[in-house]
């Protein structure tokens, strides 16, 4: 059966929750991509308003400790956190898929080497790894992307490897082998399209993890550099002023949580669509 067209059908008949997730996700994507061109105000303009001003008609999310309008900062934060994580996770998905396929299909030494590598990354305390990478590479986007990749790479490798193991024994792979197809051809033509579903599902989960990691790094001051904002650096900014300017943490925290939640909801829907789990009722 053609999984994709069926899955797309199921996704289209989405329920309210998925729809909510999709709409939020699309909105955030829109804000993330087109934010810089929207007439929201300059996110880094200092003294645009009073210091630590409460939300008002002019400043929807209030102002920060340098008198910057917090709303465009949150929009910029979405852009950094969301797009950065998306880029990182996409790169990781590509690398992880190739490694996972190689491990699952080639087996033996390649499998052992790749699996051990994934184990090492997995056993390394994630945040410590993040701090180390951020320190070695210097803080900024590059290290944020690397940290997200390191943390999510094992996820992709594991999933793709196990899916590949399931596919590698199937008839069409054997047939291609017998016809004399090269390993690379088999991986790209026969395995890759068939692991894509699992990769897509993993991609959404990795994206939510990536967003958490990016914002955690920025929260510790090692992610996106000021004056640029990421949702994590805004949280860091706001957490210093929780008692007198709670809107900073609340608005950026809410947007971050909403973003992760929408990614999760859509991820659930994609997973349900690709791999419907229907247990039988017990009566």
């Amino acid at each position: 059966m053609s999984g994709f067209s069926k899955a797309a059908g199921r996704l289209l008949r989405a329920d309210a929750l998925t729809l909510f997730g999709l709409i939020t996700l699309v909105t955030l994507l829109f804000l993330g991509i087109f934010g810089p061109w929207l007439p929201l105000g300059d996110p880094s303009r200092i003294a645009a308003g009073p210091r630590l001003g409460a939300p008002s008609a002019q400043f929807l999310f209030g102002t920060d400790e340098l008198g910057r309008d917090f709303m465009p900062r949150v929009v910029q934060g979405i852009r950094s956190t969301f797009l950065l994580s998306a880029i990182a996770v996409t790169i990781t998905a590509v690398i992880g898929s190739l490694l996972g396929m190689a491990a699952g299909y080639l087996g033996r030494f390649a499998d052992q080497a790749i699996a051990r590598g994934a184990d090492i990354l997995f056993a390394f305390p994630a945040l410590v790894a993040g701090l180390l990478v951020a320190a070695v590479m210097g803080p900024g986007q590059g290290s944020a992307i690397t940290v997200i990749s390191i943390a999510t790479l094992p996820l992709f490798i594991r999933v793709v490897r196990s899916v590949t193991l399931g596919i590698a024994g199937r008839g069409f792979v054997t047939a291609a082998e017998v016809a004399g197809a090269s390993t690379l051809r088999i991986m790209l033509v026969h395995l890759l399209p068939n692991v894509m579903g699992a990769v897509m599902v993993q991609l959404t989960y990795a994206l939510s993890i990536g967003m958490i990691i990016e914002s955690a790094l920025s929260f510790l001051g090692l992610g996106v550099q000021p004056p640029d904002a990421s949702l994590g650096s805004l949280l860091r900014q706001g957490s210093s002023y929780l008692t007198i300017a709670p809107w900073m943490v609340l608005s950026s925290g809410a947007v971050l949580s909403l973003a992760i939640m929408s990614v999760n909801l859509v991820g659930d829907a994609v997973r349900d669509a690709l791999e419907p789990l229907k247990g039988r009722p017990l009566t």
Binding site: K6, G9, R10, K278, R280, P281, T283
Partner: protein, 328 residues
């Protein structure tokens, strides 16, 4: 004779699929007598599994009862409340599934599973005795084993033992030997039939293996397009089939041909009904179809000592070209 053990009347069941409803049973009617072995044969998609599962209301949630009734041992299965249904399943019904390796809980020892199936607090002797009845050698070892440690044939015997644990009145076996190796199918089937005979229960075998049921069933029901198209004694139906589909099926099966002879496949593919079929569902593939077959729904009639759903049953018998092949 009292009322039949199972009375299926005009059963219509559909499955909710993506954007439509696929009809699995298109007004199927069937009665199972007490103490008989009835085989239901048909290709995949013919509706035989739906029919079998419906007897215990074990259909998946996307199955919809659209019409008809099914009564088992006096209980209206489709309308019974949960408690009554469970009592029926527990006391009157026994199921044997196609794949024994999935029908057993993989994390539980066989002994405990069988004990649970027996109910109450049976001692190990009772459990071992039950396994011995199912012709499992070395029941002591089997008791302690986990399902994955058993061969397919042994596992199926365990499943059979569990099915007869509470002396059901009706045993339903869905392709009980299809997943087993050819060399042991016969023996497992023999066990099943022997146990039925010992207990006096009725046995319904769902199968596509014509030769197998030919040796073990009393009556046979041939299903096509969600209906029973021919129903009669095994000897009659398999040796002198009336319905063109039954005939074609027999002619297509490898095993009955003489060396060098050519099998006659049925051209085309089985139908996928989306509503009540207002014609003969087999007509598009039938070599004997006439215009009427494509426009009028045939009803069950008694022809040559059996029920047949075919407009041209009488002509078919008369046609020499439709001489049945030798059946074993």
């Amino acid at each position: 004779m009292s009322a039949p053990l199972v009375d299926i009347a005009g059963l219509v069941i559909g499955y909710d699929a993506a954007a439509r409803q696929v009809r699995a049973l298109d007004s199927a009617s069937l009665q199972v007598r007490e103490g008989e072995t009835l085989a239901i044969v048909g290709e995949s998609g013919s509706g035989k599994t739906t029919l079998g599962m419906a007897a215990g209301r074990l259909l998946p949630p996307e199955a919809q009862l659209l019409d008809g009734t099914i009564t088992v041992a006096g209980v209206d299965v489709m309308q019974a409340d949960d408690a009554a249904l469970r009592r029926l399943r527990r006391e009157k019904l026994g199921f044997v599934f196609q794949n024994p390796s999935t029908a057993l809980d993989p994390t539980m020892r066989i002994g405990r599973q069988v004990a649970l199936a027996l109910g109450g607090q049976p001692g190990p002797e009772a459990v071992a005795a039950l396994l011995a009845r199912a012709e499992l050698g070395d029941p002591e070892r089997v008791l302690r084993a986990f399902p994955h440690e058993l061969s397919g044939g042994m596992a199926q015997r365990v499943v059979i033992a569990m099915a007869i644990a509470r002396a059901p009145q009706l045993l339903i076996a869905d392709e009980p030997t299809a997943s087993l190796d050819a060399s042991i199918r016969e023996k497992v089937m023999a066990t099943l039939v022997r146990l039925r005979a010992e207990s006096g229960a009725s046995l319904v075998i769902l199968s596509h293996d014509l030769r197998l049921i030919g040796r073990h069933a009393d009556r046979v029901a041939v299903m096509y397009g969600g209906r029973i198209v021919e129903l009669g004694a095994v000897a009659q139906v398999l040796q002198a089939p009336v319905h063109p589909y039954t005939r074609a099926l027999l002619a297509a099966a490898a095993g009955n041909e003489v060396p060098g002879a050519r099998l006659e496949p049925i051209q085309g593919t089985p139908p996928m009904l989306e509503g009540r079929c207002e014609a003969c569902a087999y007509a598009p593939r039938c070599t004997f179809s006439v215009a009427r077959c494509n426009s009028e729904r045939p009803e069950a009639r008694e022809v040559a000592g059996r029920l047949v759903v075919c407009h041209r049953a009488e002509e078919a018998i008369a046609t020499g070209a439709m001489q049945p092949q030798e059946a074993r």
